[in-house]
Amino acid sequence: MEHIPILEMGNFLLVTIQVDMHDQLAMTLQDDLTNRISQTNADGVLIDISALEIVDSFVGRILGNIARMSRVLDAQTVVVGMQPAVAITLVELGLSLTDIWTALNVEKGMALLRSSLNKTKNQVKWRADDDAAD
């Protein structure tokens, strides 16, 4: 069966979609990613869609599902690299990717994941300090 490769980079998972995705492939990616987050204990997922020439409502739904599932598994998803024509079309189609974090490119997406992770860690540390003071 066809799979989209998922790369591990430290505590993040990296996916670059390089093919015109058919529906089954998108659903396989959703399953594979969810399993890998759980196996690797990943803190974040970065999905690069710069090679995708269209995002229709099906792919939009899968991206939303991935973001929500990763959230439940304590990981954050960021989608990067959307082409301008794709963004224009998505808005006109009526699809708003409200649950999904987006960034312009891989570099900014990584920075977003790192900063969100730092924030969470600091909050946890804070709480630990509070406990110590009690």
Partner: protein, 132 residues
């Protein structure tokens, strides 16, 4: 490149083939990248509807020429159960399937012309046109 082409829509792989054929014709006609993306996305939505609700069908791709104006017309046809309430089906968020219900309404917004005919028990025909 031929002026007319008909493709079968029977599996989810066919949706990808429809997208590729529509893109190729849209490039041929000289649509801008944004307009190419719009018509290909609309085609993807309608092909999925044909597959999911129409139990499979066909799409006819036609290059149009009216004077100096060029365009692309896509006709999706199926012999499926038909749509009992077209007005409802065109509403955003309305779905009887697993999608988001953006398909028909979204495709209408992405095209310059949109026409739908459906008869319960006979099937559905959706026509969209995008002009250059």
């Amino acid at each position: 490149m031929q002026q007319t082409e008909t493709l079968n829509i029977q599996t989810s792989i066919d949706i990808v083939l429809v997208r590729q054929a529509v893109r190729q014709m849209a490039v041929e006609i000289g649509l801008s990248l944004v307009d190419q993306t719009k018509i290909v996305t609309a085609a993807s939505e309608l092909a999925r509807n044909t597959l999911e609700y129409g139990e499979g069908g066909t799409v006819k791709l036609e290059m149009l020429q009216e004077g100096r104006k060029r365009g692309l017309r896509l006709t999706f046809e199926d012999q499926g159960p038909g749509i009992p309430n077209i007005e409802m089906a065109l509403k955003d968020g309305f779905t009887t399937g697993s999608g988001l219900g953006m398909g028909l309404g979204g495709a209408k917004r992405l095209a310059n012309e949109f026409e739908i005919q459906s008869a319960v028990g006979e099937g559905t025909r959706v026509i969209i046109v995008r002009w250059k």
